[in-house]
């Protein structure tokens, strides 16, 4: 079989359809008169077309009638105003999402590059063990049962930042002591209620757990008991603890909003000190509160998984928020682009119809 070039194939194909210009047609016909191979190719092409054209129309195997009117698609109103608003909303959401992600990423890295240390810092929440000595001493003096002391210690745990510097911690202790003293006029049972009310809802469980733990040795020297109780409460207390760590976070009040009146009214000063003291601290330097008690160190391994989880959850919150907003923005952007495309398609289709 003689070979015909692809270009000649195309010429022949267009020729049989009458799609060649006058000059092209005349030139090809002249070649056909002398080129037998080309002529055979043309004949074969005609036969092929004849075979294709003899294919019979097919009968539909069933009725394609519609039983019910199909739902019409929801089409975005592709008006200029809608387009502009969609684009603006998408841009805004993406920007907010990125801002969230960037800021949360920065903050996660800022307090300490060493995860273990951060874990220890959170573990050190129980510095309230030290803090607890305030109320304990107070209760020891006033004769309040030690159990309540332990519970109050646990309640305080989330409030007191792990990075509490000694002075701030002391101030906080003083404030707490003062606040507890303010409540002291109430009987022991009332103090217990206050302790529960101080805790935010999630912390309540931890408080109940910590009660029995702290009870046996909940004397002035019961730092161990209080500490372990505080560890248990760490995950539950995390949200508030996290917000406190951030200098710009002003939600700590909200976190305790549902809590006791004494905490919300008395602690701000101490917290403020803590927050002010925080940034000046070298991140690598372990918080003094952490190393103040050897019991804390010994208890740390048992608490580390919980604290690690706590840390992760704390970091995820803004990250998740940012990712959600970013995702929303991207989706809106895609929807917008799809709307624009479908609109262009419709316009093109209409033009072609005309």
């Amino acid at each position: 079989m003689a070979i015909v070039s692809e270009q000649d194939h195309e010429l022949l194909s267009a020729y049989v359809d009458g799609m060649l210009s006058e000059n092209e047609r005349l030139a090809l016909e002249a070649r056909l008169r002398s080129d037998e191979t080309l002529l055979r190719e043309l004949t074969a092409l005609y036969l092929t077309l004849a075979l294709l054209k003899q294919l019979p129309p097919l009968a539909a195997p069933r009725d394609f009638t519609l039983e019910a009117a199909p739902a019409r698609w929801l089409i975005f109103p592709a008006t200029p105003v809608f387009s502009a608003l969609s684009a603006a909303a998408a841009t805004f959401l993406v920007a907010i999402g990125l801002l969230f992600l960037l800021s949360s990423g920065g903050q996660q890295a800022a307090p300490s590059g060493d995860q273990a240390q951060v874990a220890q810092q959170i573990t050190a929440t129980p510095t309230l063990a030290q803090t607890a000595t305030g109320p304990e001493q107070f209760y020891a003096a006033t004769g309040t049962p030690a159990q309540e002391t332990a519970e109050i210690g646990v309640m305080i745990a989330p409030v007191e930042s792990s990075e509490t510097p000694p002075e701030a911690g002391a101030a906080a202790t003083a404030n707490l002591a003062a606040s507890t003293m303010a409540d002291e006029s109430a009987p022991a049972a009332a103090t217990e209620e206050a302790a529960i009310s101080i805790a935010a809802a999630p912390t309540q469980e931890a408080a109940r757990e910590s009660g029995p733990t702290g009870t046996p040795t909940a004397t002035v020297t019961s730092t161990e008991g209080t500490t372990s109780a505080a560890f248990e409460s760490a995950p539950a207390a995390l949200p508030s603890a996290t917000t406190e760590i951030r200098p710009e976070a002003d939600t700590s009040g909200d976190a305790f909003g549902g809590g006791g009146r004494s905490m919300t009214t008395e602690t701000p000063a101490a917290q403020l000190e803590i927050m002010q003291a925080l940034p000046s601290e070298t991140p690598t330097q372990p918080p003094t509160a952490t190393v103040t008690s050897t019991e804390t160190a010994s208890a740390a391994p048992t608490a580390s998984p919980a604290s690690a989880v706590a840390q992760n959850t704390g970091g995820l919150e803004p990250l998740l928020g940012g990712a959600l907003v970013l995702g929303g923005g991207l989706l809106l952007g895609i929807a917008f682009m799809t709307g624009v495309r479908s609109r262009e398609k419709r316009i093109r289709a209409r033009r072609q119809e005309r």
Binding site: M1, A44, P57, P61, L66
Partner: protein, 202 residues
């Protein structure tokens, strides 16, 4: 009676545009063979062709208000071409092959042919030839196949094909030329099935 038919068709279209499903279904019955033929030639198998046809009519009903006159058949063919492309894409995404599809195709999958054959023998020959041609069409790449079907089976012009497939006229010309050459080579392999006059294709 073409004018009456056309007037009748326009009435039906207008009624369908006002939301009459009954009027639209009359149009469906009138064009379902045309659309099924097209989708079968493009898809190459009955189930996919049925899906594409059904999708085409659903899409047509949804878009009926955008029909602004002209050939209703051409308008439907365009929608059916798009639904065939969609079906081909869907098939690519989920290339689920049923167990029975793995077996060699038998006559069950053959499209129902109108009763035109004079004798049973003739009918059998026609059937085999048509199957051989369809197999050759199925062997073409997607764009060439659609172009060839629209041009050489449905009889659309280059311009209409370009509009239907969102391609340039030059592209249509080139696809068509390649598709025809491929079909010709493919049919040479089944010379024994071709009627005497067609055996000249050496």
């Amino acid at each position: 009676m073409p004018d009456t038919t056309n007037a009748d068709e326009q009435t039906l279209i207008q009624a369908a545009q006002r939301g009459s499903l009954k009027a639209f279904n009359v149009l469906v019955l009138r064009y379902q063979d045309v659309l099924y033929s097209l989708t079968y030639r493009i898809m190459g198998d009955a189930p996919s062709a049925s899906d594409a046809t059904q999708e085409a009519f659903i899409a047509a009903y949804r878009q009926i208000k955008s029909y602004r006159g002209g050939s209703f058949r051409a308008w439907l063919l365009r929608i059916a071409t798009n639904s065939s492309y969609d079906e081909l894409r869907r098939r690519k995404r989920r290339p689920a092959i049923a167990f029975e599809d793995l077996a060699p195709s038998d006559s069950d999958d053959e499209p129902p042919v109108p009763d035109s054959a004079a004798t049973p023998e003739q009918a059998l020959q026609d059937r085999e030839l048509n199957r051989a041609i369809q197999d050759c069409i199925n062997g073409l790449v997607e764009d060439q196949r659609v172009t060839l079907v629209l041009s050489d089976i449905e009889g659309l012009s280059y311009q209409e094909i370009a509009d239907h497939t969102n391609a340039q006229i030059g592209t249509v010309k080139s696809r068509l030329s390649r598709a025809r050459a491929s079909i010709r080579h493919c049919l040479q392999a089944v010379q024994e099935l071709l009627p005497g006059a067609y055996r000249l294709m050496q």
